[in-house]
């Protein structure tokens, strides 16, 4: 549990920094323009660096993990999604994995009853919680594009309206804001509640969850409770995006806290496990077809190895082979 408290303290400290920096010291330029730019720079450079570093390591062997019937004899029904033999199958396998977390859907839970009975039960909470969080996050990020486009692109307005379908409250409460909080809370609580999860969780696992929770909460709070000047926030966003930053006037402290936490998240992302997002596309157990025997895979660093040749073998056993009536190369 110590690991969780360390992460919580770190996130609280991160909230206090802009509070003091903007609220007390009035460093709006630093927190509104400087830090976001630096964070973006770190994000892009770091992100590309990590991807390049993965790409530089080759895939020497053809090692997909297969989850369905191979394509072999014509009368056996092959499973192109779980054991892809065509590029369409591979595309489907990857799409299902990336968009719908196919592998997590397989999840079950093993329990040992009375020291002898092993019971498996379907366990799709992680799948559901993960989907809820990730899909909400995508929609929330997409909605944010309204701060960066003028006039607001029609697709964005459409999604925004759809998201606020129930029109509860003013401004309207977004469905995804609720959903992302539910999803995140589940992902966090399971790390605190389940003994297996408590043991394997590192401070950084709690840290990213708490940081994202803080980002979401600061965003929701400034929309519904501590109102900020959204027009001015948009002016700042547009000016940053067009590389002509204007010195922002009083937007409201909650905005700066939100922006600072987002900056930290962006700068931290390339150095964290959050790189699983681009990483899954590189995974050789998932992104290769099951055609290992049909197509030769090349190992770029393959080197000659010491082998035991037939000649050496026959030299050792020739007499015995002859005696046993086995054919030999040299009499």
């Amino acid at each position: 549990m110590n690991r969780m408290w360390i992460a919580l303290i770190a996130v609280l400290a991160l909230i206090i920094i802009p509070w003091v920096g903007v609220g007390a010291a009035g460093l709006t330029l630093l927190f509104g323009v400087g830090i976001p730019y630096i964070a973006c720079l770190i994000f892009f450079v770091g992100f590309i660096y990590r991807i390049v570093s993965w790409a530089q390591s080759p895939v020497p062997f053809h090692i997909p993990t297969i989850c369905g019937q191979q394509k072999s004899l014509p009368w056996i029904k092959a499973n192109n999604r779980e054991s892809p033999h065509s590029y369409w199958g591979l595309f489907a396998r990857m799409a299902l994995e990336v968009l719908f977390f196919r592998s997590l859907l397989r999840n079950d839970r093993a329990e040992l009853k009375q020291r002898q009975r092993l019971i498996y039960s379907s366990n799709r909470f992680l799948w559901a919680g993960g989907l809820l969080f990730h899909w909400s996050l995508i929609i929330v990020l997409f909605r944010h594009l309204r701060f960066f486009t003028e006039p607001v692109l029609p697709g964005i307005a459409f999604v925004q309206n759809l998201d606020a379908l129930f029109h509860v409250g003013l401004p309207a409460l977004y469905i995804t804001d609720v959903a992302i909080i539910v999803g995140l809370s589940y992902l966090f609580l399971r790390r605190v509640i389940y003994p297996q999860m408590r043991l394997i969780s590192l401070p950084s696992d709690y840290f990213v969850l708490l940081l994202i929770i803080a980002v979401v909460l600061s965003g929701v709070l400034m929309r519904h409770f501590f109102k900020i000047d959204a027009e001015k926030a948009k002016e700042l966003a547009l000016s940053i995006a067009s590389f002509r930053p204007v010195i922002p006037t009083a937007i409201g402290l909650p905005f700066y806290i939100h922006l600072f936490l987002v900056s930290i998240l962006a700068a931290y992302l390339p150095f964290s496990k959050l790189m699983h997002a681009p990483g899954v596309f590189f995974s050789p157990t998932r992104n290769l077809k099951n055609d290992s025997r049909a197509r030769r895979h090349i190992n770029p660093w393959s080197y000659p190895v010491k082998v035991h040749t037939y000649e050496e073998y026959e030299d050792e056993f020739r007499e015995a082979m002859k005696e046993a009536g086995l054919p030999v190369e040299k009499e």
Partner: protein, 537 residues
């Protein structure tokens, strides 16, 4: 057996809810029955392995070379540059825990370091410390730890408690493959001369004699003579088994246990009967008398050195293509590594069944066909006369061996054969078969007797699923496609679910096969044939 004293309910005094403690502190305790002996010096020498010496895992002093730490870290850097899988899987794990209760060793031992996620963290923590910025600055806070002798010992303990079965990988949302992690860890351990007897000795035997058991060519020939005599007694038919014959159409390669161990032997007889009956133009080889590859459990280099023989022998004998027998990791090597290791096999032809004319398009580059693909095709084309009633004393289930399942996706072929050669076939529960199949608990070189307690623990989930179908359907025979299964499942079932026997798919084929001119009263185990009802005149 190392633990005659431990009763099943005592062995299962385990909990899947680990205590909250700091796993970064190394904890390996080398308790009798849970680890394998170190590799004998003689075999280290024969294979020219690095840092050769006699040593004992249970000793405090492992006699490591003075600069062992530099060797390991330098090796790690090299592996990171060579294997994207390694680098990626060290970087992107989010510790979601989906894999935690998927490992058979965890389910049988409750040891949290057998959760795949934590097994990988044993290595990941050292990677962070020496190869990442966060780990260098924040140390333990970032889940990083120094590489110490105790950490190395922990690696040895837990990476020789992973059977590289890849079950966890199918549950991982990123496909993180603990087998890759374990393979890399073993590569690193090799560099400082730390590997186990039951990997290095078979590999060395195989290098020298062509097979794991160290059978020299003349003894190989002799076992064939025994087998042919036995078949003559059983069927009344004189069968020929060509060895090292140049100009044959097909080279047949099986795991060497098939012609030496029990119950593999009956599968061996099954092959011989089948090939005789269809008049196959084929040959066995003494030089390539092993399809299995214990090198794969050691390093990719040793795997390549051993695997080299198969193509070399196919070239020397001038065959057209290669047929492979029932074996697990042999088929992982052949399906996913052989062509890369020692190809291209451009001196061979694309495999075509000489009996049915079927082209094995899925093997067109590697040019090696799995025996169940071959036999299923024969049955489909009605080329075999089968009497499934001859297997009526068996209620059969099928254990998907890890590698044919998760490397090839070989699910339907063996089941199709079984359903044609026996009348009573029952699958185990869905989440214990096919891609979700459980390891026998003895794969990847962990099948030594001194490791028996760990084998029984690791095999528990498999045995438990067998017990389920035994109680529900009266299953008394587990059929499988792996030589290690055939060696390790009998003692496993004797412990957990007595009264269930183990066989290969082609033993049951051999039983059911109605041969031209046969006189048969007994099955391949010498038991009286369960005859179909006598036709009444």
């Amino acid at each position: 057996m190392a633990d005659d004293k431990l009763k099943p309910e005592e062995i299962l005094n385990v909990s899947y809810e680990p205590a909250d403690r700091d796993w970064l502190t190394p904890t390996a305790v080398f308790r009798k029955g849970t680890y394998s002996y170190s590799a004998p010096l003689k075999h280290q020498k024969y294979l020219d392995l690095p840092n050769q010496r006699e040593w004992n895992p249970a000793d405090a002093d492992w006699k490591l070379p003075e600069n062992w730490k530099e060797i390991i870290l330098e090796g790690m850097g090299r592996l990171l540059k060579r294997h994207r899988s390694f680098k990626l899987y060290l970087d992107i794990c989010v510790r979601c825990g989906a894999c935690a209760d998927k490992c058979h060793y965890f389910l049988g031992s409750g040891d949290p370091k057998n959760m795949p996620v934590l097994r990988a963290e044993l290595l990941r923590s050292v990677y962070r410390r020496y190869f990442t910025v966060a780990g260098k600055i924040f140390g333990r806070l970032a889940g990083a730890r120094d590489l110490t002798e105790d950490v190395l010992k922990e690696w040895f303990y837990y990476f020789f408690q992973c059977s590289e079965c890849r079950r966890c990988s199918i549950y991982c949302p990123y496909g993180i493959d603990t087998c890759e992690i374990t393979m890399m860890a073993r590569e690193l351990l090799n560099l400082v001369g730390c590997n186990i007897q039951w990997v290095v000795e078979p590999a060395s035997n195989c290098f020298r004699t062509g097979n794991h058991l160290g059978i020299p060519p003349h003894a190989f020939k002799q076992t064939f003579e025994f087998a042919l005599d036995e078949l003559k007694d059983l069927t009344g038919i004189s069968i020929d088994a060509p060895i090292n014959r140049k100009g044959a159409e097909i080279l047949f390669v099986a795991p060497s246990a098939d012609y030496f161990a029990s119950p593999h032997w009956h599968t061996f007889l099954g092959y011989l009967m089948l090939f005789h009956e269809i008049g196959l133009d084929y040959t066995w080889s003494t030089y390539a008398s092993e399809g299995g590859n214990f090198g794969l459990f050691h390093s990719s280099e040793l795997a390549k050195r051993l695997n080299n023989k198969i193509y070399a022998e196919a070239r020397r004998l001038g065959v057209k293509w290669i047929l492979g027998g029932e074996c697990g990791h042999m088929w992982r090597t052949i399906h996913q590594y052989m062509d890369t290791f020692n190809g291209p096999a451009d001196f061979l032809e694309e495999p075509v069944s000489p009996i049915t004319g079927t082209k094995f398009d899925n093997a067109r580059s590697t040019k090696m066909v799995h025996i169940t693909e071959f036999t299923a095709d024969l049955i489909k084309h009605d080329k075999l006369k089968l009497d499934p009633a001859r297997n009526d004393r068996w209620k059969v289930t099928f254990h998907d061996s890890c590698n044919p399942a998760r490397a090839i996706g070989l699910f339907a072929e063996p089941r199709y054969i079984l359903q044609n050669v026996c009348n009573h076939f029952f699958d185990m529960p869905e989440n214990t078969i096919k891609e979700k199949t459980f390891c026998c608990g003895s794969g990847a070189g962990l099948g030594a007797d001194e490791n028996m307690e760990m084998r029984l623990r690791g095999g528990f989930p498999r045995a438990h699923a067998v017990k389920y179908v035994k109680e529900k359907h009266g299953v008394n025979m587990v059929s499988c496609l792996c030589a290690i299964d055939k060696a390790s499942l009998p003692p496993l079932f004797e412990y957990w679910v007595p009264g269930v026997e183990v066989c290969g798919v082609h033993e049951l084929v051999g039983n059911a096969l109605v041969m031209k001119g046969e006189t048969r009263t007994a099955d391949l185990r010498g038991e009286p044939l369960a005859q179909a009802e006598e036709p009444t005149a």
